[in-house]
């Protein structure tokens, strides 16, 4: 047996936009064990709910993450709405779907860029983020923000999108699909990309499920699980099936995200075709009293917002289980046995969002 060495991976590392730390136990170049540490930037946002009015807290929820900010805000609102039996107007539900899917597209493009960067394909990184900018432009045009939308509110949404803008978004996304294909074909076909991802960090569907994995990490191992199938917001009116790949390696997880780009565009087109005129919010009166686990599908997978209220304006408890938190066990399973050089690719393959995890 070779001499064992422990090296730190993170919390500051070139492939990590945010701090997470792994102690890697090595025998030569082979990783034997990975021990994670989180909590470097824990912000205590769950605790803040005890001091923020339940209506105002949506602004905090949106700031849990800068990538899926809208879905965070929406899921928080859904938890409160379910406790208070608030019926959200149909138009607001469709707008929630449109902004959720725009969030998914820009998140997956961000991930594709980061993945390209992790194996040194800088031009591919730049093209992925060039495409992402166009989605951010749509988000800015419809919400006024690029990172924090400020559009979710308890009882509906804050802004409407007029018919002409909706039609322009669909037209733009139609032409955009061709551009996406040009870039994603490189991820799918380029031999250097496949060399870094095919057969790396394989996890079976049974293993991923048993470890509690969610989102593309789970679907990349052939498990058909997508929280949008619950039919929240207007997803019950959207025709789709969860995208799965069966190989369970880094390449499969990448292919799931690439195929979800096209799926999200299709969902937006369906939502625009089905959205009807009407109010975008209902007036909220009273205070919440009860509890609910709201579940939605973020770009990285299922997120849970547990809210418990006692009839005052301040919640008794608000707990967020983020998808990255659920996917960390997959890292502990897949990194051992891999080469040290593959660790950055494997870590990125779960699309870690430490901002979410350190809520």
């Amino acid at each position: 047996m070779s001499k064992r060495t422990i090296i730190p991976f993170g919390p500051q590392h070139p492939v990590l936009p945010e701090p997470i730390h792994l102690d890697l136990v090595l025998e030569d170049e082979l990783v034997i064990e990975a021990i994670p540490s989180i909590g470097f930037i824990h912000r205590g946002l769950e605790k803040l709910v005890e001091k923020k009015d339940f209506i105002d807290y949506v602004y905090v929820a949106e700031r849990i993450c800068g990538i899926c900010s809208f879905i965070h805000g929406m899921t928080y609102c859904m938890a409160i709405e379910n406790i208070m039996n608030i019926e959200v107007p149909s138009r607001a539900n469709f707008l929630r779907v449109i902004w959720s899917e725009l969030s998914r597209i820009h998140s997956h493009l961000l991930w594709l860029g980061l993945m390209a960067d992790s194996f040194g394909f800088e031009s591919l990184f730049m093209h992925s983020w060039r495409l992402r900018e166009q989605i951010l432009d749509i988000i800015e045009e419809t919400t006024g923000g690029r990172v924090i939308f400020g559009s979710a509110k308890v009882g509906g949404v804050r802004r409407d999108i007029d018919a002409a803008t909706l039609a322009a978004i669909v037209k733009k996304l139609k032409s955009y699909e061709k551009e996406i294909k040009e870039v994603t074909d490189v991820f799918i076909n380029d031999s250097t990309v496949k060399h870094r991802m095919c057969g790396v960090a394989v996890i079976t569907g049974e293993e991923a499920y048993a470890l509690g994995a969610v989102g593309p990490t789970l679907r990349g191992s052939g498990v058909s699980s997508d929280t949008r199938k619950l039919g929240y917001a207007a997803y019950k009116s959207i025709d789709f099936e969860p995208i799965i790949e069966k190989d369970g390696d880094c390449y499969a997880r990448c292919r799931v995200r690439i195929r979800e780009l096209t799926q999200s565009i299709d969902m937006i087109e369906q939502a625009v075709a089905k959205i009807a005129a009407g109010p975008i919010e209902v007036k909220v009166t009273g205070t919440p009293n009860g509890e609910f686990f709201a579940r939605t599908e973020q770009p990285r997978g299922e997120v849970i917002y547990y809210a418990k209220a006692d009839g005052t304006r301040f919640l008794q408890r608000m707990r967020v289980r983020t998808p990255t938190f659920a996917n960390i066990p997959v890292l502990l399973k897949t990194i051992p046995g891999s080469s040290l050089a593959d660790v950055p690719v494997i870590v990125l393959t779960i699309d870690p969002c430490i901002s979410c995890t350190e809520r």
Partner: protein, 119 residues
């Protein structure tokens, strides 16, 4: 659309058995979370199978009462259990990986349950 969510209150002595049954029935561990209530600490164990959402609820009186780890059944539980210890001061027995209070590096120990003897 309101999702149906089942909530079952169980004794802490039944926890490991009940969780093992959920695992054997093919349920995924979705999350474990704590809430500080007047009577102590309420712990929710959530499971999902084919979009069916089930919760087990256990109420503890820490620091005298401890709870058994379910990490031997669900490996992912170890993260939630270390979180319970670091943020709420809940003492969990038998964790397969115990960070001994260093999983979260908060400036205030057990911030959701200040003054806990397990901090």
């Amino acid at each position: 659309m309101v999702e149906e969510q089942k909530m079952m209150t169980i004794s802490k002595d039944d926890l490991v058995k009940k969780v093992s049954e959920m695992s054997a029935s093919g349920y995924r561990l979705v999350q474990i979370s704590c809430t500080k209530i007047a009577a102590g600490i309420e712990i929710n164990y959530s499971f999902d199978k084919n979009y069916e959402f089930i919760n087990f609820r256990v109420t503890l009186l820490p620091p005298d009462e401890t709870i058994s780890s379910v990490s031997k059944t669900y490996l992912s539980a170890v993260l939630y259990e270390n979180e319970m210890h670091d943020l709420f001061g809940v003492k969990v027995e038998g964790m397969i990986l115990d960070y001994k209070g260093t999983f979260y590096r908060t400036s205030i120990k057990t911030p959701f349950n200040p003054g806990s003897k397990n901090e």
